[in-house]
């Protein structure tokens, strides 16, 4: 509303950095903090859980399809070969998370670079880069990733690269839109007027101001990449030598009608991870939104 002019500080005021304000907002957001806590917990479990638990996820340790709770040694039961599901969950999270993070990083790298160049320079460069982006958007992401992994090697690196290669267009479009919007603002012209060169304007003036939506999108991209990795592994396109949550679901899916647990728990793990990531992403989105800050 047209309330009073933003306060004119009378006494020496404390400097309120926009980033710190966002963090204050984030901390007040309970679902987001819960998501962050859950995410930290999952990361810790995948990093150190297997070490503490000590089981070998590949070793056949018991009869197949032991239901959860029946044997105290294997609280979540065993799979179709008689392998311990808890050990699988603790070991299989690492590759999933690593691929998710690496793919998200690659996505941001490609997407932000292309989007920034297109949005900043405009004209023919923009035209060319956006046609290129549209071309990549025409390819259904999962199918294209499947093709890449099938044709090349099903290693974790290749999977991360494939996911990165299919996910960047959205980031590029978002970055471009932000750059186009910010480029028109007077502080960008002001930067040029005081002698800033193109590179400085792009990376030191526009990018920091475009970051909030990009950070949110990066967070959500991690979630999407985890789902992608799970999907590929589920189809049997993952690295066959590495335990992962998607692989556990794929390997056990033939027996779902006789044993529900070997597919349910890994799926739940994926769900909780992505859920935590998206809670954090939503929280960041709200924290960066100045409209909500006034409440």
């Amino acid at each position: 509303m047209s309330a009073a002019d933003p306060a004119a500080p009378r006494r020496p005021a404390r400097a309120e950095s926009p980033l710190r304000e966002a963090w204050v907002m984030f901390r007040r957001n309970r679902p987001a903090m819960a998501g962050l806590a859950l995410l930290v917990l999952i990361i810790l479990a995948t990093l150190y859980g297997a070490l503490l638990y000590g089981g070998d996820p590949y070793e056949i340790v018991w009869a197949p399809h032991e239901p959860p709770g029946a044997t105290p040694e294997f609280p979540l039961g065993t799979d179709y070969l008689g392998r311990d599901i808890v050990a699988g969950l603790l070991t299989g999270g690492g590759p999933t998370l690593a691929v998710g993070a690496a793919a998200a990083l690659l996505t941001m790298l490609i997407g932000v670079t292309i989007g920034a160049l297109a949005g900043y320079f405009g004209g023919a460069i923009d035209n060319l880069l956006m046609r290129f982006t549209e071309f990549f958007q025409v390819l259904p992401a999962l199918l294209f990733a499947m093709v890449l992994v099938t044709l090349f090697s099903p290693s974790l690196t290749m999977i991360a690269i494939a996911i990165g290669l299919v996910s960047w267009p959205q980031t590029a479009r978002l970055t471009r839109a932000e750059f186009l919007k910010i480029r028109k603002l007077e502080y960008v012209t002001a930067a040029r007027a005081i002698g800033a060169r193109d590179g400085r304007i792009m990376w030191r003036v526009i990018l920091p101001n475009a970051l909030p939506p990009l950070i949110v999108s990066a967070t959500l991209t991690i979630g999407v990449a985890i789902l992608f990795e799970a999907g590929l592994s589920f189809l049997g396109l993952g690295d066959p030598n590495t335990m992962s949550w998607g692989l556990m679901i794929g390997a056990n899916r033939a027996y779902i009608l006789s044993a529900w647990w070997p597919v349910t728990f890994p799926g739940l793990a994926i769900f909780l991870t992505v859920f935590a990531v998206s809670l954090v992403g939503d929280g960041l989105n709200d924290a960066f939104n100045p409209k909500l800050r006034e409440r």
């Binding site: 549209e134 071309f135 958007q137 025409v138 390819l139 259904p140 992401a141 999962l142 199918l143 294209f144 499947m146 093709v147 890449l148 099938t150 044709l151 090349f152 090697s153 959205q170 959500l220 979630g223 789902l227 799970a230 999907g231 589920f234 189809l235 049997g236 396109l237 998607g246 679901i249 899916r253 779902i256 009608l257 529900w260 597919v263 349910t264 799926g267 994926i270 769900f271 909780l272 992505v274 859920f275 990531v277 998206s278 809670l279 939503d282």
Partner: protein, 324 residues
């Protein structure tokens, strides 16, 4: 409008040519002899077969000539020969494309209608219970792996409440019944796959239309409508919804590729006889010609969906209608 459509179609063809060129180089960039790559996992392709492939594809000719031949063939609808099924790829895909379109469209319609309805209801009271529920559903929907969703539904409906078939597209026992019975049977089979796919996208549309609606409800022209004395109902459905729908149309277009990807996974879970199961078979057999054919057709579907979306957007937004 017609001029616009023509240009849009020409651009679509250009994009498809791009896909063909990409396919061409993918085969050649893959490790190993292209002929062997094309032959795939046929169980030790014989020298004769490899020679036949080389002759067929002109692999002994310069790269540009090969590309020209490939482009020409693809644009005429010749997607090559599947070495596993021993049939033209175009024919194989032709048999499977219908079920995929059915699944994708069903999921699209369900997710948009229910999603937008949820979003609009949530936007009426942004701090209400319903609004919170929509946020929760949206976050969950975003986080569930679509294939796992399908599996959970199978477990639920196969063993606990067996009211929906969990596999395939039609019951062969009904093969000789009338068309109505068969159609009802197909819809019956469609329920679970379409629902699992729709849940994910429903979440996207619910969240998007809630945000878009809230945005529009704060707009000056909504205040104008209220100042005229319009009722809340008219404000919501006449003035706000049409504007709030614009971003939904955009996203529906952008998400089509994602929907197809999701359909691929759902098809393999439910054994739905579409392009997804075909692609899955192609991967299992390392039948690259078939796999790339599926990629080509899927891309074509996305191109067409994008054109339809653009046209829909132009109809919905008068600001774009004047442009040719």
């Amino acid at each position: 409008m017609a001029g616009y459509l023509l240009r849009r179609l020409a651009y679509g063809l250009l994009l498809m040519a791009g896909v063909v060129i990409l396919n061409f180089f993918l085969i050649r960039l893959a490790p190993g002899d292209p002929a062997e790559v094309i032959a795939g996992d046929m169980g030790g392709a014989t020298a004769e077969v490899l020679a036949a492939i080389r002759a067929d594809y002109g692999l002994d000719q310069p790269l540009l000539v090969q590309l020209g031949r490939y482009l020409g063939a693809m644009m005429q609808g010749d997607l090559g020969e599947s070495y596993f099924f021993n049939r033209p790829v175009a024919e194989l895909i032709g048999a499977r494309i219908g079920p995929t379109i059915l699944l994708v469209l069903a999921a699209q319609v369900i997710s948009i209608t229910i999603g937008v309805a949820m979003g609009v209801m949530a936007a009426r009271k942004p701090n209400g219970v319903l609004s919170g529920a929509v946020s929760v559903v949206a976050t969950i929907g975003y986080a569930v792996p679509v294939f796992w969703m399908g599996i959970m539904l199978i477990i639920l409906f196969a063993s606990i409440i067996p009211i929906f078939p969990v596999e395939g597209m039609a019951d062969i026992r009904l093969r000789n019944e009338g068309w109505l019975e068969r159609m009802i049977d197909i819809l019956h089979h469609l329920a679970l796959p379409a629902f699992s796919l729709a849940v994910i996208f429903l979440a996207i549309y619910a969240r998007l239309s809630r945000a878009s609606m809230l945005d529009v409800l704060g707009a000056d022209y909504v205040r104008t409508a209220r100042a005229k004395g319009a009722s809340e109902r008219s404000v919501l459905f006449r003035h706000a919804l049409r504007n709030a729908a614009l971003p939904v149309i955009t996203v529906a277009g952008l998400q089509f590729g994602g929907l197809l990807s999701g359909a691929l996974l759902v098809e393999t879970v439910f054994n739905w006889p579409g392009m997804g199961t075909l692609a899955f078979d192609a991967i299992l057999r390392r039948d690259y010609t078939l796999l790339l054919g599926v990629l080509f057709c899927a891309a074509a579907m996305v191109v067409i969906a994008n054109i339809v979306t653009d046209l829909a957007y132009r109809l919905a937004d008068p600001r774009l209608r004047g442009e040719t």
